[in-house]
Homo-oligomer: 460 residues x 2
């Protein structure tokens, strides 16, 4: 292990990215079977070497305890850093789950007969090289690396300094597991080590195709503004629950409670509750009492304050509507109509996840169509917005942007397509001269070109 570590530390980010690019040229050639077998081998390795992982993690935790004591690390962050035997088993389980997922590569998205003997295929392929910068959770290492390997991408990882020993061990064991697979280059997974590496990384648009920052809002915004590599991520999660005039109150209460209290630090937790005026009188006292019993600080618009007549509700300021509390605080606003709710969401929301509670199908339909967000939910908690819960196996990140991938990004976010055109000497001059003309006939989805060994037909 020490040799590999020394080699990594001595390399610059630019050198590692070049190696990753070279590795990515080999990854596109891997069969599905090789990719899956490798994932299973890594899962086995993690379980058989769990002691080494836990030992490294214990060292990280010991150092982190100092930070907690001195107040530079929160106990929540410490909890995320800490691994136990069950955590290692879960890592291995996730790897095996990714192995079971359908192949994201070599899928024919469209096939068009342009003319006799001239057929265009639009086929999925890897992006190439992906970089992920994340904070202290070490389980991110195997999760995103597995999604990258399965989708044929090389990956550069930069984790938090607090988890350095754990991450290093996870990567070293990963590479050791790959040794028997000669076709899989060792350079397909690289660990970056310093802030300086990340700064250097931002300029490497020639060798890195996508950068995914996972962290706080300021961090993500800094990366987005300073990167020459395309960035996908989310700075903020300002999610709303809108309780419509025709809401079922039981559902509205349990969804509000879940969206706010089940895990308030998550980006998909609700920050603001919008309540239709028609139902406010009946709904608000009940939900406020429940929220306050659960320790939630409630802040209300003037109408909420007037209605609730409770000294324990604080007035919400303009800033509240655009604040991600990430804590047990909820702002509540009464709106006069669905339209006013939509307007509020478009003005203050972060296009993350928005939920409507209503029994009125038309209102639900309008909300789902008209709200411009990655996730639009009807009678369900915002907390469902998550790659695992969506059935994507895992997630490499969450995107609030609207290009390429939106919401929780699974493997599909690490793929793109290429156009393959197969002819027999076809030239454009014949069409320009009117000697030939285009047919543009869509071929049935599965009547595609014979596959190479890489993508088993129908594997998806």
């Amino acid at each position: 292990m020490s040799d590999a570590t020394a080699k990594i530390s001595a390399s610059t980010a630019a050198e590692l990215a070049r190696l990753a690019r070279a590795a990515s040229r080999k990854l596109v050639k891997l069969s599905l079977q090789t990719r899956n077998s490798a994932l299973l081998a890594i899962a086995d390795k993690y379980e058989s070497e769990s002691e080494a992982i836990l030992k490294a993690n214990a060292a990280d935790c010991a150092a982190a305890q100092e930070l907690v004591r001195s107040g530079t690390m929160t106990s929540a962050a410490y909890a995320r850093l800490r691994l136990d035997n069950r955590g290692v088993s879960e890592m291995a389980g996730r790897l095996r789950e990714v192995a079971r997922l359908p192949d994201p590569l070599h899928r024919t998205l469209a096939a068009t007969e342009l003319d006799e003997g001239l057929v265009l295929y639009k086929e999925t392929c890897p992006l190439g090289v992906v970089a992920v910068v994340f904070e202290s959770r070490p389980d991110v290492v195997p999760q995103v690396s597995a999604l990258a390997l399965k989708s044929g991408n090389a990956i550069l990882l930069k984790g938090g300094a607090e988890a350095a020993r754990t991450n290093e061990t996870l990567v070293t064991l990963w590479k050791e597991s790959l040794l028997p697979f000669e076709e899989i280059p060792q350079d397909s997974l690289q660990l970056l080590h310093s802030r300086g590496d990340v700064m250097e990384l931002l300029q490497l648009d020639r060798d890195v195709d996508l950068l995914i920052p996972r962290g706080g809002r300021e961090f993500v915004e800094y990366i987005s503004r300073n990167s020459r590599i395309p960035v996908l991520g989310h700075g903020e999660g300002i999610c709303h629950v809108y309780v419509d005039a025709a809401a079922n109150l039981e559902k509205a209460i349990s969804i509000t409670m879940d969206a706010k209290t089940q895990y308030p630090a998550a980006c998909n937790a609700a920050e603001t509750l919008l309540v239709h005026e028609k139902i406010a009188g009946e709904f608000l006292p009940r939900v406020v009492s429940k929220l306050q019993s659960a320790g939630v600080e409630v802040r209300g618009c003037p109408r909420v304050l007037a209605l609730a007549r409770s000294a324990s509700i604080k007035p919400a300021s303009e800033a509240d509507w655009s604040t991600e509390y990430s804590d047990l605080i909820l702002s509540i606003k009464i709106v006069g109509s669905l339209d006013e709710a939509l307007e509020h969401i478009h003005r203050y929301g972060s296009q993350h996840t928005e939920s409507v509670v209503t029994e009125d199908a038309e209102a639900a339909q309008r909300f789902l169509e008209e709200v411009d967000a990655a996730g639009v939910f009807h009678n369900a908690s915002t907390r469902f917005a998550d790659g695992y819960r969506y059935g994507l196996g895992s997630e490499v990140g969450i995107s609030n942007g609207k290009l390429h991938a939106r919401g929780p990004m699974g493997m599909e976010g690490l793929t793109i397509y290429k156009y393959k055109l197969v002819g027999s000497g076809h030239v454009v001059a014949d069409y320009a001269a009117g000697k030939k003309s285009f047919r543009h006939r869509a071929l049935p989805p599965r009547a595609t070109m014979e596959k190479n060994g890489n993508g088993a037909p129908g594997a998806t």
Copy 2:
């Protein structure tokens, strides 16, 4: 017409973008029928008002002739600016073609039953607001505006100053045609007027979702580096034709000639010919003679020079391999293997379009899989890389990047998806507590939620 013009000129780019954002909220609600009827109405209007269009164009052309005389405008650019009756008919024809294309919206890309009564739909939707900055061709106005309207997007356009009168007339007639369609906001199409507008536009990431620059390499690079809005475009088209050892020489010659000479100024024209050494002796003299007869200047690597022994072949310098000539110049290199060809393409290519000529199925397969480019062609000219030829109706631009859209971008590039989750009071706490567990069952593609009036089921 003068009122509308005055109003447009008085507004800043930021104001226009805000109006476009507001318009986009209404566009998402339009039925397919309304969008198509509007396109047909605009097509009719262009034909019935062709005199007004041609008159405006004549004024632009008169002013442009001065520029051609003074040498500040090329005659090729002048030719692209000029419209005649046939040009107007073609504009109308393209609009009708877009009306006939399937609806890109409300398509269910995936449906997953997460649990009983909890179903996740991944459905296509518009990006929102798109901006296109282009040069002097006025036919870009109706083409990209039609793709935007059909895909439910508001659009900001900035054309070349030389075509200002023509573009203004096309936009005014467009808006006049929309007057009877009360649901379609006039602000869904906006014309920007100055370079200052474009500079201002680059900062408007809150109100503009995508920026597509169409122009020369330096222009596109400037925009990409200075925009806070995501940019899709292509700076360069350095395309290769690789003639493999097992090539059919007739096909190789006609593809080379087409790729270089059919329209050398196009980005999908070939700049470099790679020839396998085994076939070079037979192929090179024939293709060089043909190329030179067609007025092509040939530049060769040392092995080409030695083989051709023709004084009329100039030596190619290192710079030649990374130059987009956009002219009747071709560099030729002899390679020892398919691997060397792949390496050359990855080193010097611009990921635009790459073609292999071979009768060897395995070599073709390797080329199509391993070359990392938007278009990978087998026995076909690189010149086929085009939205119209691909059957996309038209194109809003071409992307050399690997995120979101790759190659010629049709309407699909103007759409993204949202996740719609429909439950009946579902909360995450039940799953976290182990009371419920996820099913993650993929539903058959068309067994989707009942559609609203917007997207006719099976319309795609």
